[in-house]
Assembly symmetry: D2
Homo-oligomer: 345 residues x 4
């Protein structure tokens, strides 16, 4: 029997990507699509791409209803919603599985819930499967990683595990497509403002993803890592590319060894591909897929490690990774329902 | 047992879309990928999107080899190739099925082949399933329609069949994304020339698709139709939108009746969707899919029928339709291996 | 002494283009920049392009203040503002010259103003210099044409004046960049909605520019003209291209004669260029300039006249034409302060 | 009397930008436009933007002719041309002034020319006015800087002069629009390859601009500087943004002091603007202008200096700076003929 899944915030950008992927997923059935803004509209009225393919209407968010109709629910909702809604939902359905795509719980590991009869402590698992797969398998509640952090952590993981780099020297220059900012109307997201421009924002320690990045990197390395993180806005719809710099601890290690070390590290990870030397990761080759493409490079002249990490911010950076997490929780094949081929041209 | 398929010209844009779709197709196995330019390179060296997913190398084109290795072959080759290669291929494999995406045979219905022992006449079927499905089923050789003609013919078909319009008044204003021009290097396809511009080309009867459009429209209507056809180049990668105008024969017919007539006409055609009133067809909602979205509208003030027809030029306008044709020939479900959901945002 | 000019609505898109052009204009001095949203902010805080070049602050709109500080004022304000504000302003400064870029008065020719002592009737001139230059010269109040109407009227003017076409057969297929919709936040103008798409809107007689187009065309031709007008949204920031179709009255006229007729007609108009045969008007070649490029073509096969008309919607379609009108009113050289060379690449 | 100027390679992208700017320049007259590819074509046939505005034809390159017709000549030619052509030209016109936009002489300071009667040593000046203005004034031959180097050197200059940073820690992450690669046809510049993608290239010490960058930075600082330089290709036509990182020598210096130091340093430089705190440099605000916008930032958490430097690669990065150099050589006002306002939206 198929798992009944709900998507809260189904008409936002992460919501529509979830909806699309879950419709193609053989082991689930969508039983709840919520949208405050479009309540009672047909989903295809909001996104005509679904016309004649999906007959569901958008529902309001109702904890009892969600709890009753769903075995598993995705929160594709604005930051703040999950913190408020989660206790109500658990009260209605004590066993419901939750994958939260918002930032609400990414820095926490335990959620204490007051319930009428007993106190329940819900363990929160940070849903980066390449690191936390085992915990995810047994989790009820997943906090899905941010898009920038996913690209960065996957890029640095082998280097940190192998003590390849001086952890005091990490500089991350990231570039994201406009969908990363969501569907809300903001002056800086008007077509004419993004088009034909390229802009940095929240530089010098101001981006809200920094604590998430540093927490995970520090846990991985066992050191207290601080990073320089510079996000930039790209005039494209989909994609993040992070160019990451750090000093190599060992000046002797050569390009071939670095490539091998990275390839070996991710040998068993289907969704992380270390590209062959001579091919650089870019956003287009991962667009619409759940892949992370990595190019680890040695800059011989300066003894730096440069790692280029590319993901689709909406897939591996959000909705695709959420489904990867769902597959793990449900003991399904990890890549079920996830596209492995993007679109060229 | 899976059908063995080959793609000649596999590294061009229609070739890569075919390769991608056929890799996802459950009933075929790719046994031949040819590329003159990239012979002996791994396919993923040309398109790193396929890295670690497709291990094939590009082969040269060799009739004996193709004939031996393939049950069915797609010609995703430049115009001129098929005319030359087809007789050689038939000689090697008398039963091989062929779907030709080039323009070589779109205006012909019979190909006379001189063979050593006997004369063979190969019937050529114009592969627009919504019109010629029955003939396609029994064909060995399909000439796959052009991208503009597909969008236009599907848009006008119900109106012509129902004698809705004055066939002397058809004006077609079409707009195509840049992939329609293929992957070859041309000055007008340089990024900086296409970007932030919008340009008409081959106006006033000069486009090579006109004979194909007029031949099919005339056959459908039983009249000798001449059309005004104005193509324009859009600064997008994928998509064709044709805005088609014609005088209504009957001034009394209203919008509701026109909508119903179109909807009824295409009721059984999965890949043609007549959108509900109030929603206009656009290129984004069909992107990456094999759908044709139609919006038939009455302009009350001028008694004109306006039909907006949108397809993805690379899918329903080329490679997707080719696979639809293949499915019909192989007696498979028509939508097998074809995406039904595009990508938003 | 320089003319003192004000711009109301200076932080919208037509406002910023006016500001930029007027800063480069040798005979005017900007004395008033209003913005409700950004009152008291430095203009360069809204548009950092002006940093260290323009020291003005945004002011609130105040009739007395505007009337006192300005000899001439541009209304780059939302539709509705001018109707309300104009009487107040005239009361404060009986002689102030006004160029209204909104649609408020485009369909009217007389504005009756009640004033304390006497009734004043303000003549409203439709500011298309190529048609109404003489009246503009002596006008106090100019209603600046819409962007679509400008491209269309200039394209059809020679054909109508020379009775070249059947006026019952005019079909206009227009495509506009996103700046035409202004700077306000609307869901359909989010970068991810416009990018990589192409969409029709307000088809079949629904666009608010139709009365303006038909009024002018009817006046020019002396006939009661109704047109089919189909606007589409292009994923570019600047530019309108209208492809206009009509039946030729005389089947004998050939391409050469049509080209000559158009060239002769606009021989003395600096801002309208009839391109040589073989070169089609496109949006890029007029971008950032006040030019209208025209390509009149005969479709021999169908006896249609096809006119391609390209302008920059923000310049000849709005702010540039407003300055052209100002130059005429002020008896300055018509092209003063207007760029004649765009930007390639 | 106006200076007679020639442009060799006038139909390439730097050539067309030079042509456009020089047409608007009050003190020069264009007397020579060369193009091998388009010899004998009217310039407006190559670029219809110039139709009816520039009547010149493209000429072949002929040293005698160039020497005879020009007082000053711009080489907007491919790398390699200048090395070969320069001696021939000097032989024809011993006094002709030359501004070379190619990379041929950027790393050299003396050109030894064998001449029939005497040996002439031509001093080569690196044409970055903000550093070498005095030498430029008296130079006959200017080697115009590369686009990336211009953005980087201007960004680092105040920090190096003030010994603000550890010169062993410089990391430069640069992003350039597609016009930087010129107009030649290359597979990676096809619209469909650049559009909707973002790609690094020539990473880890492979870009040919590195020696130019390091030579100038080393000269400025008096130290032997090696940098990490990572170029990336942006899907826009115009603009370079470099995000530059280095360790601060002094942890005590605060943001305010850094901002002041930068502002003071460039106080007299019209074409370099240090933006106020809170506004970041981006490519759009400098597009089409000769400005360099700088945002120097302190990352308090990591004690890094981050400098964002934005230019238009075709203007301050090439043709605009060439004209700035010409103005200096000709003792004209430095900003003559150069646009100071770009285009919004």
């Amino acid at each position: 029997m198929k798992t009944k899944v709900g998507i809260l915030g189904a008409t936002g950008y992460t919501g529509v990507v979830l909806t699309r992927l879950l419709m193609n997923h053989p082991e689930v059935e969508i039983t709840y699509l919520s949208s405050e803004q479009f309540t009672d509209k047909y989903y295809y009225e909001v996104y005509p791409m679904f016309y004649d393919l999906l007959k569901e209407k958008c529902r309001p968010v109702n904890a009892a209803d969600v709890g009753y109709r769903c075995d598993l629910v995705f929160f594709a909702t604005p930051n703040g919603f999950a913190k408020d809604f989660l206790p109500k939902l658990i009260k209605e359905n004590n066993d419901i599985k939750i994958i939260d795509l918002s930032a609400d719980f990414r820095l926490e590991t335990i959620l204490a819930l007051n319930k009428s009869k007993k106190q329940k402590n819900l363990k929160i698992t940070y849903g980066l499967p390449e690191i936390h797969r085992a915990q995810i398998q047994t989790s009820q509640f997943i906090s899905n990683p941010g898009c920038y952090p996913t690209s960065i952590i996957l890029g640095l993981l082998p280097a940190l595990k192998h003590k390849l780099i001086n952890t005091n020297t990490i500089i991350i220059d990231s570039k994201s497509g406009a969908s990363g900012a969501g569907k809300q109307l903001k002056p800086e997201l008007h077509f004419c403002e993004v088009n034909e421009s390229f802009s940095p924002y929240n530089l010098a320690g101001k981006h809200r993803h920094i604590p998430e990045i540093e927490k995970e990197l520090s846990t991985i390395s066992g050191e207290n890592i601080k990073v320089v993180f510079s996000p930039h806005l790209l005039p494209i719809s989909r994609g993040i590319l992070s160019t990451i710099y750090a000093e190599l601890n060992n000046t002797k290690i050569n390009q071939k060894e670095i490539s091998k070390l990275y390839s070996d590290f991710y040998k068993k990870e289907f969704f992380v591909k270390v590209l062959p030397e001579g091919t650089y990761a870019n956003t287009r080759n991962v667009r619409y897929t759940n892949f992370c493409h990595l190019s680890p490079l040695k800059d011989e002249r300066t003894n730096k490690l440069i790692i280029v990490s590319a993901i689709d911010n909406m897939v591996k950076g959000a909705s695709g990774q959420a489904i990867q997490n769902m597959n793990i929780i449900l003991s399904l094949k990890e890549q079920l329902g996830l596209d492995t081929l993007g679109q060229i041209p």
